[in-house]
Subunit: 341 residues, 4 copies
């Protein structure tokens, strides 16, 4: 069976497994206070060209979103996100469980618009009743978005401009950041992200690690007593070095972006084939997720050989399916997928 | 200054003040365990034609919404509401503060549509990923709505039908219920509400009481240890009889609906005058709230004599203002308002 | 039946009812933005000799404790209280429901000890693992305590000293503050309280009001967007002036302390009689609560005529009962109680 | 440097690393729905002699405690634990952050007493005011306890008896369960734990795994929609098979208990040496944690060669230090430790 269902179907890049094995019996202090975490933090600061960055490692994306949003918002504030944002739709209410509302903006191919964000804020503060409403306290975007699309540098700067005008930190969910940074056509680099965002994370789970996300606070703005707060959220891993070691490996000799590029290249080939065969793709993008409209007969036929992801109903006869590549996708499996289309 | 800003600008109906004075030195047990609460509960059961109803008194609307929603939902469930629903917009995040998401449906003049509700539920359960989403666990509607509009009996029954199909209680926010029950053209009675809703409340604060809402659980479904839960929400009033006494008064000899009718009649007169003078009203309704489009010159002129409520920006030159009557509105002040239009 | 069960068995001082009636039809803006609230706030500032005090009115004690503690603590902080503190024992988990732990100190006749508080803090910060623990973030005491006892001015100052050394605000629960301020032997005045505490409240519910507590932030330290936060806690009363009016009345011509004195005087008479008749009182105090050890035969006999409060089991044959006086207790009923002992 | 600081200083048992490497590129479905999780669940059911057991894997202990307690309690309930219980002391308020109070019982060498538990419950329900208090809703014990001590089977059965009388599930924190099951002198087996507890977990993080705890619901009592609830708590690992694979390995051919025995044997040797040299141990126990009173000169001397854990101040000249062995401790390092004592 070919699997193009998601980008977390395999374990880790072999270089990571190798280092886990090599260091397995080294006795290390717990909770991320070890030298591997320290080394990884330093390499990330350098890759971000952000010497003052404060870095912490968290084991998964929902946990990271929950932690960042809850620790950076005041109790009377909510987080502004696209209607299609992961925190609004697919985290089982993890944000609300910490007491915060997700305030939604329209999505345009998964992106929010700086103009609409400004209008939202203007309307909010113009309302004499706004003390009876939830204050916009932070802006959450994902890059790439849930639909695989990317912001341009100018779009990110415009959003950050509105954020800062209204004293809201900009939080970028980078669960798939690697796949965004190396996509064809993007003008956004990791140092750009670190400069523009107030906090963001570099996804490991979907880009070569067994698990782990590196949260980066870029402006000396890491919440106070973050260790206690991570612990309180159930997110303080005893053997924190497991994440330090993985990120140290990923940020040595550019491994992170190198393996990310494979995913985008494989996706480009699939996109080309889909276009050639007349399939309709829902979003124009260049990252590792492809959303394609398939009729039910085609789906039935494909599913004998390939596992795809369900996205949403399109109409009575069609469904939007997701084809997802990753750092681990082989040219051979892509060839077989294309043949089967 | 004429005041048509809201329906909670005055104290209480004089009959209530009289009874408060008469009973002031009577020594009563606390926390709503007194005989006035008991009498009021019985009168409400009778007015609802719902002998099994369980009734509790809570001091305000936000508190009631927070309590009912939090105690009736499972942790993994959210409350479905119109985008314009009070719990979604104007309660400073009180629902999310208890850990629950507000799941929104489109509003049509403040109403939700049973068909759209069914579609929402169908789509939710059809999604293979729905364990990663917030379960729809209850439906919240307000009657009258935030825009003064009313559901018909058939509409309520259709919504309740979908609710029960998907095992969700239907919760009716009746902060202004009195003004809905006596509105011209409505076919919905209090017994209808009690029969159709699983839980609802009869607003006192806006309909003749100093404060207090009577929450009615209609199906033997009052959450366990409700006293402890009310206390935990900071909502257990020491001198609970103050609310029992007020509702006992309001539900003696039909006082509640009698004084509600005044508000609607006064609003009808104003609506007639507005129509006659060519003003545009945003919603067609027959209750105590009128939403009228006014140009800024008119607003400036009116505000010298009348205090109105701000609703929202309409366009560059116009604003939607709210004219609100109540049980206390006098024909004389309505006459003066009409003259000034 | 004589009732000495608690101090919230009657309505309000007649002067309050009179003003409610006089102002009943005055049209006032909502949510505590009216001129009665403003006047009451100013009178409280003067009575406290604290011109910078920020005052808000909240309808009940649990709600006030929940609001103050939740809005003044950081998420990683808990509130330090006596084991016997109301917030630890009798609020159905209202504090924990907002996410905060109650950290307990031993109680000595209901009081905490400044030395033990310091030791608690020293031990906490000396522990290398304290990032895995709940930070002491605020100190809560009640004055009078739950056992009717009082701190001396020196004790309060010593506690405040430790608080400030460890950057914790001192919060005084004054649900029965009036009965403490006028007790025989106390050297603590209202200006002392305002000077020593960082936040405290002046109880109305138990001292002459229908309901309402006046929260006083004494150091310009009222939490940001307090209106939104009160609303979010379900504690923003629509007709906020009802509390402004009551406190305005209580703080006009010293009514508050005048009526408080009655309770203490009546309690003194009962204490004298109990001593004369050889009863054992559990705590030495001079406020309106008396905790007396009664054998079960005496309880059975008394309960035919008097309603007392249950406190706790003493031994197989005795129970500790509470005798509680209030602003409304009459000399005649005290006489009858004494006769029946 | 010798390290006896804790039992999570090394990675995983080599057999686990081997299987991670072997299966690394196998494409597996996410979120614990894979065949390794299924196999591990079945092996755990068999090891527990509990065919109806429902098993889920969670990445850490605090997270597991938070999840189990929050999903099994009603909102008005708290969890009863020893004062010294991990959930009460060392989880940074993770339990309270979900809204639940930790209700404490005295600890006796880390253990709670069934008689004191019964008395707690009796007193609670006898109190007429208990609706104003937090209901005891679950009992939490750790086995081994935080002090390395163990319950006997009879003690566990007595506690479970009280639990069931008062309709409270019994939750056993087994973060170090392996070290308890193989300790000399214990009469408690894994099937006993599964029979007596309503829910418990088998610690992996401290007993041979990289990370992961296996939560076992023993009575068909796994909370509804547990996947959604795990997700909402930020605890749903994308690559859930990583935990399935580890537990599958640990529960193949008795690896889990085999490696646990090493820790206890090494600790026994150290205890023997300590006794021989006249050191004072604070608790009598036979598991992998040793709490020894050391004077400060000895600590200074030892710390040149050995890293120990700080426990607590004993007196001005002594400190209680923890010596901790694990599955990975070698006889050679134990020999060197003993020599240095």
């Amino acid at each position: 069976m070919l699997v193009f269902q998601n980008d977390y179907s395999e374990g880790a890049h072999p270089a990571i497994l190798k280092r886990l094995a090599e260091t397995n019996m080294e006795q290390l202090p717990g909770y991320g206070t070890d030298h591997y975490c320290e080394a990884a933090q330093e390499k990330i600061r350098q890759a971000c060209a952000c010497p003052q960055a404060q870095v912490r490692f968290i084991s998964g994306g929902t946990q990271t979103n929950q932690l960042v949003i809850d620790t950076m918002l005041q109790p009377y504030e909510g987080v502004v996100a696209a209607e299609s944002g992961h925190v609004n739709v697919h985290e089982a209410g993890a944000i609300e469980a910490t007491g915060h509302k997700v305030l939604t903006l329209p999505q345009h191919d998964g992106l929010i618009d700086a103009g609409e964000l400004r209008e939202y804020c203007e309307t909010f503060y113009a309302d004499g009743n706004h003390e009876h409403m939830v204050f916009p306290g932070m802006v959450y975007i994902s890059h790439p978005t849930e639909y695989g699309t990317l912001y341009t540098k100018a779009q990110l700067e415009a959003i950050a401009g509105v954020c800062h005008e209204y004293h809201m930190p900009l939080f970028i969910d980078g669960a798939r950041l690697g796949y965004g940074l190396v996509a064809s056509g993007t003008d956004v680099t990791l140092p750009d992200i670190a400069r523009i965002a107030d906090v963001f994370y570099i996804g490991g789970t979907k880009v070569g690690a067994l698990f782990g996300e590196a949260v980066v606070f870029t402006k000396g703005n890491m919440p106070k007593h973050i260790t206690a707060q991570i612990k309180q959220h159930g997110a303080l891993m005893a053997k924190g070095w497991l994440m330090g070691l993985q990120f140290d490996t990923l940020f040595t000799d550019g491994l992170y972006t190198r393996i990310a590029r494979n995913a985008d290249e494989m996706a480009d080939r699939i996109r080309e084939a889909l276009r050639a065969k007349g399939y309709r793709m829902v979003y124009e993008n260049t990252t590792n997720q492809i959303f394609v409209v398939l009729d039910h007969a085609t789906i039935d036929r494909l599913e004998r050989e390939v596992r795809l992801g369900f996205m949403e109903r399109y109409d009575d006869n069609h469904t939007v399916m997701r084809i997802c590549t990753s750092w681990a996708t082989t040219a051979e499996s892509v060839g077989r997928l294309i043949d089967s289309l």
